[in-house]
Amino acid sequence: MHSTDVAQADPGDLIACPQCDALYRARMPDHGRRAVCTRCHTVLIAPRRRAGMIIIALAAAQLVLVLGAVWFPFLRISRQGFANEATLLDAALSFSGGPLLLLSLAVTALIVLVPLARAVLTIYVLGPLVFDRPAPPGALRLFAFAEALRPWSMAEIFALGCAVALVKVADLAHLSFGPAFWMFAGLVFLTVIHDRWMCRWSVWHALERGYGARKAQVAA
């Protein structure tokens, strides 16, 4: 493909690398293959067969795990006859009082609210698309929001934090993992697969078409 070719094409058929601005003609690669920016190697398009259905299933599983992980204790401690259990919410809200309350809110958001919001938004936005329905109202905005939340979802970091905490108080008291820890470990695993299967360009593209369908339906 020549550069003049790209310059004269309809902008709607093009794709620009979000990292380095290199311009390409957007062409869907075969399933399981990826279109990569030749200059900075950012993955541009990576479709997978039946990815939509798998992503929705993953998001539903994530939703259940986050809710479960909030209610069950994730660590149990005992020393000299005293024992204590902590749930995820206890940990998130542990910095109570004074300016540390801010930290409580931030931690709650990072480990509970953001993963929860991402799962709900994913189901809401992609659900109708997978079942060939028009895109739901506000789908583009909400998907953009879900994408903006991505770096702030810190479930996997929290899981590693649990392990560090376990070692840190090992000589202070006896610690054991509760059911929520294993749910959290599962959540981390699902999040990684979720990000692997999600092809952002395909979603944007489908949403754009889905909106066309929606407008047509409203007009009819």
Partner: protein, 214 residues
Amino acid sequence: MSGASGTITAREAGLVACTRCTRVWAAGTARCGRCGKPLVSRDTHSLSRVWAWWVAGVLCYIPANLYPMLRTRMLFTTSDDTIIQGAIELATHGAPVVALIILIASVAIPMGKFAAIGWLAVSVRRGSRATPQARHRLYEIVEYIGRWSMIDVFVVAILTALVQLNLAASIKPGPAALAFALSVIFTMLSAQAFDPRLIWDRAEDDTRARTSRA
């Protein structure tokens, strides 16, 4: 897709690209018609925002290291530990691997991030001998790794919630926990404010200048 030598940027083609959804529009379009993000060919205010968050991050990082992170109360003793003291204690108590994780996450990564973002921002202005590929790689690493610094804050949260054993032992967070969390958040915002397209623009201008001189 075209080869590396034949790449043309959206700006060179008289177009503007959306960095969120990668849709391309005619130059001068104010807002992405697909995802609604305001469009700019190059974010000219990018560097001032990068430096503003960077300074905020560095400022918060200083008290984060000076004040105690954890306040441990045992039966008759109370001890205040800063980040470094906590790591040293872990290392001397036979958990060198965990001490290393804490040191990497709380000291090496934040320091490395400050240096890397600062250098990238300067190199965009002044040019650099490093190839844009290498600098872009560095930017990707910084963006990916920055969140992991949050681990120490989570450890403090977990311990505070858990170790409340009446008289036997209790743990409370110190003021450094808030300062450290803020430092991590500000540095993440600093990295996000950076427009990586600037790395490639400058490189292209340099090559052009070199070829025209020759």
